[in-house]
Subunit: 346 residues, 2 copies
């Protein structure tokens, strides 16, 4: 015999009330024609019994699980918790549960994670892909959150425009020599940001990009990036491609006795949790996670509602770009007039 559930089911409510299960189902869902009075009685009784509908039964019957999958590369990376939260908000507002799968930054794991989600019967999924992965067609609708430079049905922040915001801000403050600090030349997000910053250079401005190998300091022993030296060479603004790198830059400069923002400005990207907490608080650029998550989830939900499941379905035909917003805090300020040499040595 199949095991029965702990709680009451439709049939128990039905017999206990002397009506049919169909009527109970209709009354509870408000779908079939049931007299107002009976609806009342049934709902009351169901609540009394603490009836909880079985998702398994419903899913089997309707072919819908009411669950969305979320695949991300590494939730411990400080950028993703916010987006995961925004997706959970949006999904749960739309009545969906969220099944997470952390692909641990690994492509094979990502593929496997996607398969597992399909097995679990998700109605659709949102994938934040590992760097430049193409998602092989799956058996359910997929929305991708990535860079605009990724081809396909993607929603994303406009990282390039975010870069322009930074460039404009620094230009307005009179900075002419900008050191861009990144840690991953393969990242399309970082490349888009660099592209935006460069495109925002005005006549007489000049930028140079420093790629850091390792963000952590080796064994805690410290291996400075030589930023104080860069400041001496004439760079007055340090534009990091993420707040984590901005933090690295900010603290190294402070430790070296370079004052931020009096001597040099530091900016970041992403408005991560510590940005408003550090001294000086960090000027950065924020993406509207709620908006991005909302677009992805509602595109997904619309597809699920409209169509039956089809092979490798993608939910957005066009790429959606969501504007990033500049947050000016204390770490950026007017450029100091160049000291002796106006042209930094390279």
């Amino acid at each position: 015999m199949a095991p029965s559930r702990s709680g009451p089911n439709l049939s128990r409510i039905a017999t206990s009330l002397g009506v049919s299960v169909a009527t109970v189902s209709n009354a509870l869902s408000g779908k079939g024609r049931v007299s107002g009075q009976l609806i009342e009685r049934i709902r009351e009784h169901a609540a009394e019994l603490g009836y909880v509908p079985s998702q398994a039964g419903r899913a089997l019957r309707t072919g819908r699980s009411g669950v969305l999958g979320l695949v991300l590369p590494d939730i411990a990376n400080p950028l993703f918790p916010k987006i995961a939260q925004a997706i959970e908000f949006a999904a749960s507002a739309a009545g969906y549960g969220v099944l997470i799968a952390d692909s641990r930054g690994d492509i094979a794991t990502q593929t496997e994670a996607i398969d597992r989600l399909v097995e679990r019967g998700v109605d659709g999924m949102i994938v934040i892909p590992r760097r430049a992965t193409r998602i092989s067609s799956t058996t359910c609708p997929v929305a991708i959150i990535d860079t605009p430079s990724t081809p396909g049905n993607t929603v994303s922040a406009d990282h390039w425009q975010g870069g322009r915001e930074i460039a404009d801000h620094l230009a307005d403050l009179g900075h002419r020599h900008i050191l861009i600090i990144g840690n991953n030349q393969e990242s399309s997000v970082q490349n888009d940001r660099v592209g935006g910053i460069r495109a925002g250079m005005r006549p007489g401005m000049h930028s140079e990009t420093l790629w850091i190998d390792r963000l952590e300091q080796d064994g805690g022993r410290g291996c400075p990036l030589g930023l104080a030296e860069k400041a001496r060479q004439g760079f007055t603004a340090f534009a990091a491609l993420s707040d984590l790198q901005a933090l690295r830059a900010l603290t190294e400069l402070q430790q070296a006795g370079v004052n931020v923002p009096a001597d040099v400005s530091v900016t970041g990207f992403d408005d991560l949790i510590w940005s408003p907490v550090v001294t000086p608080s960090l000027t950065t650029v924020r993406m509207d996670m709620d908006r991005i998550a909302g677009i992805a989830v509602s595109a997904l939900v619309a597809t699920i509602r409209a169509n039956r499941i089809r092979e490798g379905m993608l939910v957005t035909a066009e790429i959606e770009r969501v504007a990033m917003q500049l947050i000016v805090r204390q770490s950026s300020g007017p450029a100091k007039p160049a000291p002796e040499t106006s042209e930094p040595k390279t």
Copy 2:
């Protein structure tokens, strides 16, 4: 008619192979007695067809969903992503999916989230409760991750012992006047940590606790904690109750021209992502998330496997405490001999 799935089901494999669904099911699961040869044929054919078992059907039949719920207060809080990741690892290694529910720090939402997870048919759940919440008994096994000071079946890091590690470390370095910095007097985690630090004070040592109202700086305009002044008063060590506060302290001191670790030491808790990244890298105390998650998940899985679902079942009779580990980095060093006054003014 009920909608049929996109992919093949047992019945299709069965007819296509001229055997019964029971045999196919047995062959695939390896349970009933099926001849080796037939098993081979069936599995091959299933793979060829790209058969994916329906979780809905299985769940309905077995009463198990193969999914665990994870309820947490705020996944954007930097402490939780790591634990969420560890839980996802452990669960997925045990063959379970993880449905997340972010309670947004709100107790009502937390209750609702738990109900929703039950509706979705999770086999068990892990709750990281909002501050000092008691979990009302639910219809499925529950494991709680919290402080040891929480009563009930809880697994947790030993925050008190973590505090002792910090106190011992600072004492060994010769520090006598310790300023403890916290931001939440209601938090049992922070109180346990304070308790541990205080308990580790040696004769001649003295500590004072500073509770910060707001971690962020108001509107980015800056509202210093007055730590430089505290340093002048004779405090040589600043023990923050979390790395975020440590970061606040570290950058404020640096900005004020106080050198860390030459002038004063700064320590944190939790080994968050930026701890090894800042200059100087941060001495902190780490909890073994993998261990905690492993204990919670395996206790849950064992309960699920052993018993049928019962009302408000709790999975661990005893509180499990997992030791925290001191990570010494550059932000802590030998105490400077006290300047003029050895007794700090309070």
